[in-house]
Amino acid sequence: MSGLLDAVAAVLLLLGALLCLTAGLGLVRFHDVLSRMHAGTKPQVMGVLLILAGAAIRLRGSSVVWMLLLVAVFQLLTAPLAAHLVSRIAYRRRHVRRDLLLVAEIGFEGFGQPLPADAPQGDEPAEAVTDTSAPSGGSSRAREG
């Protein structure tokens, strides 16, 4: 039984390590920030989860298994947040290969123009209201953060 569990743990560890390698290959070979993020998030969720499962099997009965579960929960909570922030900035900085896109649903027309007056609010950072000295295009630009 112990040998079988260790074999399962070894397979899980190797699968996770393989996913990490695919992330490295994708980071080098893909073309823009968004597709590199697509590759780079593989070890952040699936790879780490597989390796944590393997480690939990291998360290069974130990008191640190709950801590492995904590790492899994942290990864599942923080990876989407960080990816959302980085991809939003990447889109606004135009780190996107437009010639490779099949569909651009948001579109790039009027990208740097001031927002219309009836644009939805709620995305302003705290410093955007008081900062009048910056070369800003007025309060309508402050929603772009």
Partner: protein
């Protein structure tokens, strides 16, 4: 377990080296953020692999710290670039100090 450890360490080392290539070559700040984030995830995974193969439970609290640090770094740099976009009149941050987007400069990758 020796063969498993050798294969796993080789795969993880190759992943970190490839991500380091992207970290050095860039071309943009956000490419480097994505590469650094991936490197930290792989390092956390490698620490768990070490803990599992050696049955060494001392390393496990370090993994918690590393996984949280990766998140903080990515969010910090993304907020920094986002603040430059807010002060920009062109919307892409070029007029307040960010370089032109690398994808538009035609930088070789």
């Amino acid at each position: 377990m020796t063969a498993v450890s050798v294969v796993a360490y080789v795969l993880l080392t190759a992943a970190v080296l490839l991500a380091l290539v992207r970290l050095v070559r860039g071309p943009s700040l956000l490419d480097r953020v994505v590469a650094a984030d991936t490197i930290l995830a792989v390092v956390a995974a490698a620490l768990v692999v070490v803990a599992a193969l050696e049955r060494n439970t001392v390393i496990v609290p370090v993994v918690v710290v590393v996984s949280l640090l990766g998140f903080l770094g990515a969010v910090g740099v993304a907020r920094y670039v986002g603040g430059m976009l807010i002060r920009s009149t062109t919307g892409d941050g070029v007029d307040v100090g960010l370089p032109e987007p690398a994808e538009e400069r035609g930088v070789p990758r």
